[in-house]
Symmetry: C2
Subunit: 414 residues, 2 copies
């Protein structure tokens, strides 16, 4: 089963919006064992949309068109599909009523052009809208046996909903597969792709001879590497049995490198480890300027654990606010005193501190990339030094995840 | 002049990397008056790359291929171009020597496959590499009069360098245009696109009848709207004269909404305004958890101005660390006391504070989206209340730019 994607919108070609929808769809399709042939972006021009659609259908079993389903005169996807199907566009009274009702419930007058969204090519079936006003479409192409065009809105959450609810199941059914495919992602941090590959060498060989689940590494920049297991079986339960067994195997091989699963983030895991042990957390940030606190407080419910942070960017504040002794502030001794000071001033069980050099210039005789992390809490009192890659922003982002990763290891080991 | 872009890489189709290169190229081309026809992503398969290239050349005057120029067996762009040109690949001894020298200068052994990057189709000319190891290529297509294929590496900074240094100038020359095109971007904040449009109604009409420069609005989410002027004239100097005149006109119409130009950011502008007046800045952050300090310290040289931040996430810390009186902490009174406390505790000339509700639940009887900003400094002592859109992350990001925008207005007016 080969699928191509056509993203519609002049703003995509002009770079005003980056097309992340196609990437998401490609990943979703791959997870379900469906191959992607090409992904094309085209502007809001009905002739060009139609021509691209015809070309893509030459090679692909199915084409998903994303965007161009809205109410304005620039929304031309319906017309292009109708031309390829050689079918008239007809008003679907049910869709029209949903759109009218939506405006009425909000007490707003409905501009007449909204009913463009209720036009459906004869022979197409509708993917009902659940959030926005434009429905999706499933359009069998006459004369091309078994080929099909799907249309979804360009609004990401509407597109994702229709993909998962209607399009992927329809594609799987058309592919004749009776298999269920389920993925599970392990989040790792602290090892390179080639390093993980080496550690898992024999596991990968075993997986390859078993056939399912398959294993893939997905890079996520400074957030580490994801290890994705994708199981194929006749039921969800059988997939879960496979995934449980191989997840346990991977965790055994990778040990502490695995910090979470699925949607876990380093900060959500740290907060959860603190919460379970009833520990509160305070920070002293210098080089990161507030980034660590910003990430922790991005997690709903962080206030259970996170008390606050002293961002002592100016050197004298490290002394006056945190009680650091005079001397170089990019040092292990300063890092430890900052962590102790944070714990005291913020009244937290744990003090975590970061001091380092983000550049452009070196500081205290330490080169760009130097990071000292202080970790003080019940059962630990530790200072670590690391050398991080990158200039300024990259170094700072690595500093955040590095410090949180160190705290996670201490908490998980305790 | 119609250009299409072909991005090469299986990881792009699988969604492991989002193709932001094509968007950047599309914007760069548009700025120079060159139309984008389609943008296609294809996997690392030499047959598919070749087939897509041929199809794109049917309609476009030029095709830019991005990616697939590296040293491994997966890098197949050179082979696909050679097939389309019907020309053999020949080792370019000059390129080979640059690659050998680079490895030698780093004291590393050169794996032999690196010389794949020195293979050039006969008839192509080379865009010398300045940073990475793979050069770019300019490949006239025999038998198709005047059509051309460009190849650039997928590494963003290498691609951008070659686009600006070689490809855009070559395209402009081929288009027969003797015009110079120069753009200038004004950064605005605090008004919607339709609002800006209304304010600039008559200016836009004048620009349209003048023909040059042209004006475009570019949305940048919570960072505001960019207004881009693009001038066309026979010299750079004439373009600058046009842009200066119309920039002045726009600034007159938009007043305080314009916060910067080009690469200015809200935080770089705030730091510069403080620096010019010799003022230091301290923060008290609650709802943003450190985001404001993180953004300010992302700017090199921030330490001239930025002293630090007290992130008082827990309610009691607002009292103990900042001297806020007991009572609701999401309030104008708390915001003002936080700003005063930050100024005192951090020894700064200016105190800026943020307290609000990011959700998921309301707090102190205030709904999600509520933000109070305290601004205390020489000549001002102010509290503002706003209601921001979005849930948690969006609300917090809006809070950062809103508070910095308020401080900018106060400093610019003084």
């Amino acid at each position: 089963m080969n699928v191509s994607i056509l993203a519609v919108g002049t703003e995509l070609l002009l770079g005003q919006i980056i097309d992340s929808n196609s990437a998401w769809m490609g990943e979703e399709l791959a997870t379900h064992g469906i191959d992607s042939l090409v992904q094309v972006k085209v502007g809001d021009n009905v002739g060009r949309i139609e021509a691209q659609l015809r070309r893509l259908l030459d090679d692909a079993d199915a084409v998903i068109i994303c965007g161009g389903l809205g109410p304005t005169h620039d929304d031309l996807t319906r017309e292009a599909i109708a031309a390829v199907m050689d079918a008239p566009l007809v008003l679907d009274e049910d869709i029209a009523q949903v759109i009218r009702d939506m405006f009425e419930s909000r007490g707003r007058r409905m501009p007449e052009n909204n009913l463009r969204q209720a036009m459906v090519p004869t022979g197409a079936s509708v993917i009902p809208q659940t959030r926005g006003t434009a429905p999706g479409l499933i359009c069998p192409i006459d004369g091309i046996d078994g080929k099909v065009v799907y249309a979804v809105p360009g609004v990401p959450h509407e597109m994702r909903d229709m993909m998962q609810r209607a399009i992927v199941p329809d594609l799987v059914r058309r592919s004749g597969s009776t298999d269920t495919i389920v993925s599970r992602v392990l989040r790792t941090w602290g090892e390179s792709e080639s390093g993980l590959n080496e550690r898992l060498d024999h596991v990968i060989a075993e997986l390859e001879s078993a056939g399912t689940p398959t294993l893939a590494f997905l890079a996520s920049g400074w957030e580490g590497l994801k290890v994705r297991l994708t199981a194929k079986a006749s039921t969800t339960e059988e997939c879960a049995v496979q995934l449980d067994a191989w997840e346990a195997r991977l965790r055994h091989e990778l040990g502490d490198l695995v910090f979470g699963v699925g949607d876990d983030t380093m900060e959500s895991v740290v907060l959860e480890l603190c919460r379970r042990r009833g520990l509160s957390l305070g920070l002293a940030e210098s080089v990161t300027g507030g980034l660590v606190g910003a990430r922790l407080t991005g997690v709903p419910g962080a206030s259970d654990v996170f008390r606050g942070s002293v961002v002592s960017y100016a050197t004298d504040l490290k002394q006056t606010l945190l009680g650091v002794s005079p001397g170089p502030v990019v040092s292990g001794s300063a890092a430890r005193q900052m962590a102790v000071g944070a714990r005291e001033r913020l009244g937290s069980d744990i003090g975590l501190s970061l001091t380092g050099v983000a550049g452009p210039a070196e500081q205290d005789g330490q080169p760009v990339g130097t990071l000292f992390v202080g970790l003080v809490g019940p059962g630990f009192d530790d200072v670590r030094e690391v050398r991080l890659p990158g200039q300024r922003e990259q170094m700072r982002q690595f500093a955040v995840i590095t410090a949180l990763g160190m705290l996670r290891q201490l908490l998980a080991a305790a």
